[in-house]
Amino acid sequence: MKLSSFLLIILITFNFTNLNSEENNDKIKNKISKNIRCLICQGQSVYDSQSDFAVSIKLIIDKKLNEGLNENEIYDFLKKQYGEWISYDPEFNKKTFILWILPILLFVIGGAIILRKFIVQKL
């Protein structure tokens, strides 16, 4: 009786672990597909799109996750196949540096102007 209860507990725990890992995989899959642009209906992410391309990409994300690849490795694979444009999160490189630096630059310059005015007014 004790042994059967013990086995039952082990079985339940094992099943829950499996369920958890599946849930985890689904979460990562959804996260990746939300960050990947559908190249057929370009206003939508792969997650939102129902095009054949998006369906294939979702399948490939699933396949790569099952092969043991992590999130970044999957992004890298898709970028290698389709270019940087497929990602909604552009990397910092010579083509995108203005995109990243300009807001910071404007913030710093704007802040400096406001600060200067504030100091001048105080004096």
Binding site: R37, S56, I57, L59, Q81
Partner: protein, 173 residues
């Protein structure tokens, strides 16, 4: 004087922004991937449409100087328009023309071939579209020129035209 300088800088800045944005209006917002690519083919496994035999990419891409891989489907309307071009291309004996049947019903695919003719040396299936993603394809029809070292040297997005046929014949001469 100082105000004039600030005003001139502001005017210049906004003119610059206006020109950049105005020029951007004429740019296409449809992404077109690179057509000249130097990418090695990823190994894959597939099934022959007719014999249902499993076949690997190593068994497919063997014994020829150049291969032309055409992604097609019976449900794809532009593929019908493209088909006569492929029949014409099959006369080029220096290439092996391989058909990749994309997310299709085998019955419909065979019916399509019976109706329009079979230009392919071999037709393999891509039921889930995974092989096409491995190739970097975004849809159908799409055509790739692959050399004997299994390097993709050129891709054609959409239906093949007379111009693209000439280009393929020139490359594979």
């Amino acid at each position: 004087m100082k105000n004039k300088i600030i005003l001139s800088v502001l005017v210049l800045f906004f003119t610059f922004c206006f020109i950049v944005l105005y020029k951007g209006l004429n740019n296409s917002n449809i992404y077109v991937p690179e057509t000249k690519i130097e990418k090695t083919l990823i190994k894959f496994n597939s099934t022959d449409l007719y014999s249902e035999n499993k076949i690997s990419s190593d068994q497919i891409f063997v014994g020829s100087e150049y291969y032309v891989l055409n992604i097609w489907a019976s449900w794809c309307v532009p593929c019908r328009a493209e088909h006569p071009k492929l029949i014409k291309l099959s006369e080029n004996k220096s290439i092996k023309l391989i058909g990749l049947n994309y997310r299709d019903n085998p019955k419909n695919a065979k019916k399509f071939i019976n109706e329009f003719g079979d230009p392919y040396f071999m037709i393999i299936k891509d039921n889930q579209g995974i092989i096409s993603v491995d190739l970097g394809a975004i849809g159908v029809p799409e055509t790739f020129i692959i050399d004997k070292d299994k390097k993709i040297i050129k891709r054609f997005l959409g239906s093949l035209t007379e111009k693209s046929l000439n280009e393929i014949n020139l490359i594979t001469k």
